[in-house]
C-alpha cells in the first residue's frame, strides 16, 4: 500500500495508544464514527482542517500522522531490514509497519541506531587497542614470555636425553618466565581496571611517582621540618616501594626537592594560619598577604589535604610533568590533554594568572575553581627564551555554583561535539 494512503492507519494506532474509542474521537472532532472508521481504514483521503483537529485531539503533531514525519523512521526500518537480510514483500512494507505500529517501529529504529553507534564505538576501541603504546608493550611482553615458556617447556617434555645441567637451566628459565608472565598479566588486568586509584596500574615512571605521592597524600612532614636536605630526599626515594624504575626515582627526587624548596618558602602551618585569618583560599589574596610567588602558593595549596585540591604542572612543550589527581577531573595518562585548560592559556606568559570555573565533560561531573599561572624556571640568558612551567590548581567549586567553562580531558574520550579545539574524533562520538 502506498505510504500516503496510510494516514488512516496511523490515526487508528495513535487513537488506540491514547486509549480513545472511535466514537469518542469522532464526537470530539465533529464527524460520525462510521466516517472516522472509513478514514482509519484508509478508505477516505484526509487533510486540511480535519487532519489538524484529529492531530490536536490525539495530542500529536499533524506531521506524525502524515508521511513526512515518518520518512526518516521508514528509512531506518529499511536499513534494519537490509542488514538483517530481510527481502521480498515483507521488506517492502516498512512504511505500512511504521504506520500501523508507530511505537514498535520507533523501538526498532532506535535499536538499530543504537546498534550502529555501538558498532562504531567497538571499531574505535579496537583501533585504540591496536595503537595504544602501553597496551602494545604489555601484549608484546606477554607473548614473548609465553613464547619462551612454550619453547622451553617443549624441550623439557620432548627431549629424552636432556643433560642435567641443561634441564636445571631450563627449569630455572621457566620459573623466571612464569613469574614474568604472572606479573605482566596482572599489570594488564590493572590497566583494564577503570579504578581511579592512582596506585593502580603504575605502568610508567610518571604513574609510579603519582602512586608514591598518593601513598603520602602529597604531603611530607619531614620535608616541612628538615627543608632541602638531599640525603633525606635520597632516603625517601630509596625506601619508597612504589618507585620501581630508575626513571621514577629520578622524577620523584626532582618533585621532592621542589616540595622542600616550597616548604622552606612557605610552610603549611603559615599557609593554614593565613587562610584562617583571611577566611578564604583565594590565591591572589594569599600570595599578597604571604609575599609568596603565585606558582609556589598554588603548589602549597594543593599540598593541604583538607582542600581536596588537584594540581597539574606542564613544561614549555605542554607535556604534563606533575599531576595530583582529583575526582571529577581526569588528566589523561596517554595522549595530549584538552588544550582548553587554563594551564595552557598561561603557557609562555610568565606572571599571568588566569582564574576560571571549569567543569570537565565526562562520566564524573564536577566543577572546579581553577587557577593557573606560568613561571620561568631558568635563569635569564641573552636572546634565549626562558624555560617555563605552567601550574594549575583545581579547587572543588561550592555546590550550586554557576556553570563554568566546559573542558575535556583528551579529545579521544571527550563527548563535546563541534569543539573548536578538537584535534581528532572522539571514540564517544557514536553517542555511548
Amino acid at each position: 500500500m502506498a505510504r500516503e494512503a496510510l494516514t488512516g492507519s496511523r490515526i487508528r494506532e495513535r487513537r488506540v495508544m491514547a486509549g480513545l474509542k472511535q466514537a469518542d474521537l469522532a464526537r470530539e472532532i465533529g464527524i460520525s464514527a462510521s466516517y472516522l472508521n472509513l478514514i482509519e481504514h484508509n478508505r477516505r483521503r484526509i487533510g486540511g482542517k480535519l487532519l489538524l483537529n484529529i492531530a490536536a485531539s490525539l495530542e500529536v503533531e499533524p506531521q506524525a500522522l502524515t508521511e513526512g514525519a515518518e520518512a526518516a523512521l521508514i528509512a531506518s526500518l529499511r536499513e534494519a531490514a537490509d542488514q538483517a537480510g530481510l527481502s521480498g514483500p515483507e521488506a517492502d512494507r516498512a512504511d505500512e509497519f511504521a504506520g500501523r505500529f508507530p511505537g514498535w517501529a520507533d523501538v526498532l529504529a532506535g535499536t538499530r541506531k543504537r546498534v550502529v553507534a555501538l558498532e562504531q564505538t567497538v571499531e574505535a576501541l579496537t583501533d585504540r587497542l591496536a595503537h595504544d603504546p602501553h597496551l602494545a608493550a604489555s601484549m608484546h611482553e606477554l607473548l614473548s614470555t609465553a613464547a619462551a615458556i612454550r619453547s622451553t617447556a617443549a624441550i623439557l617434555a620432548e627431549t629424552e636425553t636432556l643433560q642435567p645441567e641443561w634441564r636445571d637451566r631450563f627449569h630455572a628459565n621457566i620459573h623466571e618466565d612464569s613469574r614474568r608472565l604472572s606479573d605482566s598479566a596482572q599489570a594488564l588486568v590493572s590497566y583494564f581496571d577503570s579504578n581511579d586509584d592512582a596506585a593502580d596500574a603504575a605502568s610508567s615512571p610518571q604513574e609510579e611517582v603519582e602512586a608514591f605521592l598518593s601513598a603520602h597524600d602529597f604531603s611530607f612532614d619531614v620535608l616541612e621540618r628538615d627543608g632541602t636536605d638531599d640525603r633525606v630526599i635520597a632516603d625517601m626515594v630509596e625506601q619508597a616501594p612504589e618507585l620501581v624504575s630508575q626513571a621514577a626515582r629520578h622524577i620523584a627526587g626532582v618533585v621532592l626537592r621542589q616540595v622542600a624548596e616550597d616548604a622552606a618558602r612557605l610552610s603549611l602551618t603559615r599557609l593554614r594560619s593565613a587562610i584562617a585569618d583571611t577566611g578564604n583560599t583565594d590565591p591572589l589574596a594569599l600570595a599578597a598577604a604571604l609575599r609568596c610567588p603565585m606558582p609556589c602558593l598554588l603548589r602549597r595549596l594543593a599540598a593541604l589535604p583538607e582542600l581536596g585540591a588537584g594540581l597539574v604542572v606542564c613544561d614549555r612543550s605542554g607535556t604534563v610533568i606533575f599531576r595530583k589527581s582529583v575526582e571529577g577531573f581526569t588528566v589523561p595518562r596517554h595522549g595530549s590533554c584538552c588544550p582548553l585548560w587554563p594551564l595552557f592559556a598561561v603557557l609562555g606568559q610568565p606572571g599571568l594568572v588566569v582564574t576560571s570555573r571549569v567543569n570537565q565533560l565526562g562520566r564524573a561531573q564536577a566543577q572546579f575553581e581553577c587557577f593557573a599561572t606560568c613561571e620561568a624556571i631558568s635563569s635569564a640568558q641573552y636572546n634565549t627564551p626562558p624555560l617555563v612551567q605552567s601550574v594549575m590548581l583545581l579547587l572543588p567549586a561550592d555546590a550550586g555554583a554557576a556553570s563554568g567553562m566546559e573542558v575535556g580531558s583528551t579529545c579521544r574520550v571527550c563527548p563535546q561535539d563541534n569543539c573548536r579545539a578538537r584535534r581528532e574524533p572522539s571514540i564517544l562520538s557514536a553517542g555511548v
Partner: protein, 121 residues
C-alpha cells in the same frame, strides 16, 4: 661442515631455547641481544640463515632486514623473522622489506625447526 645461523633476539630465554634446539640439529648458533651491530656481525659471519626478532634494542628487526637487503652480498640470505607483533601491518612491512619467512610468537619448536629446514634446504 655444520651450517651457521645468526640469531638476533633480546629475550634471553627464547634465545637460549632456540640455541639449544638448533645446536641439537647440528647448527652453529651465534646469538645477539642487540640490533645495533647486527648487520656487521652478520656480514662477518656469513651465515646460512638469520633469525630476527622485530622489537630489538639499538636497531629494529625491520631496519636490520632493510640493511641486509641493501647489501648485494646479503640480499638473498634467508631471513626468518620472529615476532610477538603479529599484526598484518607488520607482516606486510616485513614482506615488503624482503623477509623470507615471518613467524609470530608463541610458536611451536617443531614449527620453527620446519621453517629453518625449509629455508636452508
Amino acid at each position: 661442515m655444520s651450517k651457521r645461523v645468526v640469531l638476533v633476539e633480546d629475550e634471553l630465554n627464547i634465545a637460549e631455547a632456540i640455541r639449544f634446539l638448533l645446536s641439537n640439529e647440528g647448527w652453529r648458533v651465534e646469538t645477539l641481544a642487540n640490533g645495533s651491530n647486527a648487520v656487521e656481525v652478520i656480514r662477518k659471519a656469513a651465515p646460512d640463515l638469520v633469525m630476527l626478532d622485530v622489537m630489538l634494542p639499538g636497531k629494529s628487526g625491520f631496519e636490520i632486514l632493510h640493511d641486509l637487503r641493501a647489501d648485494p652480498d646479503l640480499e638473498t640470505l634467508p631471513v626468518l623473522m620472529l615476532t610477538a607483533r603479529g599484526q598484518s601491518r607488520d607482516r606486510e612491512m616485513a614482506e615488503k622489506a624482503g623477509v623470507s619467512r615471518f613467524m609470530t610468537k608463541p610458536f611451536s619448536n617443531a614449527e620453527m625447526l620446519d621453517a629453518v629446514r625449509e629455508l636452508t634446504s
